[in-house]
């Protein structure tokens, strides 16, 4: 049986370190030992597939089960998911979750003194089309304080979870907004040494995604790991 083609190693500097001292929660949660190298096997090169029939999509976060509109600035987020060779990643599930317009999560653990919106839960599930494109509607999330350091505030962000074709392509990240003054102070956003890797987490305002008389549009393109060009023996 021929060996499965592995996925490419991550490019140096483009991923955050587990040990990110400025982000206090990493101190007791990052491994001290070196990671054990594991050449990819069938376990890493295969992965789950999710069908919208079993896992229904929910592309409009602005309308809750109450049927009433959520409070806040409506926005459209759209983009393309490709691999590192520029090939679209089709029919893959994307999960999204976020705070409401006031910067409060509809989550019992969120004790921030800002109002919940009974018409906004803040979670969705979308699928890319055959060309790797996705699009959903939501409310622009608010900034909120967090106890990392004195006067710490998270920049506006939307959480994203991607699967891609394999266990090795799993990605969980956050999308930020252009021009946010809080980005400069956020240890999570700044955890990658590579400036370009940070900047690519900032969505781009896009008049083409914007809908007249309805909502501003932002483009957030994401790249999942690609296959190594040739099978590697490690």
């Amino acid at each position: 049986m021929s060996d499965p083609i592995p996925f490419r190693p991550y490019t140096t500097g483009t991923q955050p370190d587990y040990d990110t001292p400025e982000y206090g929660s990493t101190r007791k949660r990052h491994p001290m030992q070196r990671l054990q190298k594991l050449p990819h096997t069938i376990t890493e090169t295969t992965g789950p597939s999710f069908s919208p029939t079993r896992f229904p999509a929910s592309v409009d976060l602005t309308v809750n089960t109450t049927g009433k509109a959520a409070i806040g600035e409506r926005i459209i987020v759209a983009g393309t998911i490709t691999d590192e060779d520029g090939r679209p990643v089709p029919n893959t599930m994307v999960e999204i979750w976020q705070a409401n317009a006031t910067g409060r999560y509809d989550h019992p653990g969120d004790q921030h003194d800002a109002p919940l919106d009974p018409n906004f839960h803040g979670a969705g599930r979308i699928f890319t089309d055959a060309e790797g494109r996705y699009r959903f509607l939501t409310i622009r999330p608010g900034a909120y304080p967090w106890p990392n350091h004195r006067n710490a505030w998270r920049p506006n962000h939307i959480h994203f979870s991607y699967f891609g074709p394999a266990f090795a392509t799993r990605l969980v990240t956050q999308m930020y907004f252009p021009g946010d003054p809080l980005l400069a102070f956020d240890p999570i956003f700044n955890a990658m040494p590579d400036q370009e890797a940070r900047d690519r987490l900032i969505a781009v305002f896009d008049l083409g995604v914007t809908e007249a008389d309805y909502a501003l549009g932002y483009r957030f393109d994401v790249v999942l790991r690609g296959r190594a060009a040739t099978p590697m023996e490690a």
Partner: protein
């Protein structure tokens, strides 16, 4: 071509996505030898991590309409996760190697900027002695952190220690 997009922490509020039924990989009617994989996630102070997202993936039995092969379970306040799944069999390794039965695990949590990947093997499997990953770990105590222990009938315990004493072997995949 741009490199892969950067990872960011899943944070403490990922449960907005959570569907607890995902912890049962047999919920769509899969048949076969069922097992429970359970354990506690600890931080570097030995305190349980009550806000972690534990995901598992297994390439055997092959995923199908009745068996997703993938599960997700949030840890409870005691840091415990618990999956119901099917017992994996051996799968091919690279070259002519066989891999011992195992389940891949990815831990995502507040304080983890990237997912931490590990594997659960099963104590007593003859193939453990020749599994390429287990053999690549020289220190028997380190290797042991990847071995789930039988706890009750068809119930296997795999505690995950993120840091420090008896730190779990995490994988660079």
């Amino acid at each position: 071509m741009p490199s892969a997009t950067a990872s960011q922490t899943i944070g403490p509020f990922w449960h907005l996505l959570d569907d607890p039924t995902w912890a049962d990989l047999t919920r769509f009617g899969a048949t076969g030898e069922k097992l429970i994989l359970t354990g506690t996630v600890f931080d570097g102070d030995g305190k349980p991590c009550g806000d972690a997202c534990v995901e598992i993936w297994q390439s055997d039995p092959a995923a199908s309409d009745s068996f997703p092969g993938f599960g997700r379970c949030g840890t409870n306040a005691r840091g415990e996760y618990r999956f119901v799944t099917l017992k994996p069999g051996p799968v091919p390794g690279r070259g002519n190697a066989q891999q011992a039965p195992h389940i891949a695990i990815c831990v995502l949590a507040r304080g983890l900027m990237r997912g931490l990947v590990t594997r659960a093997y099963f104590q007593g499997e003859a193939l453990n002695e020749s599994d390429p990953l287990l053999m690549a770990i020289d220190d028997p105590a380190r290797r042991d952190t990847l071995i789930a222990r039988p706890e009750a009938t068809a119930t296997w315990r795999m505690d995950i220690r993120l840091q420090g004493d008896r730190e779990t072997v995490f994988l660079d995949v």
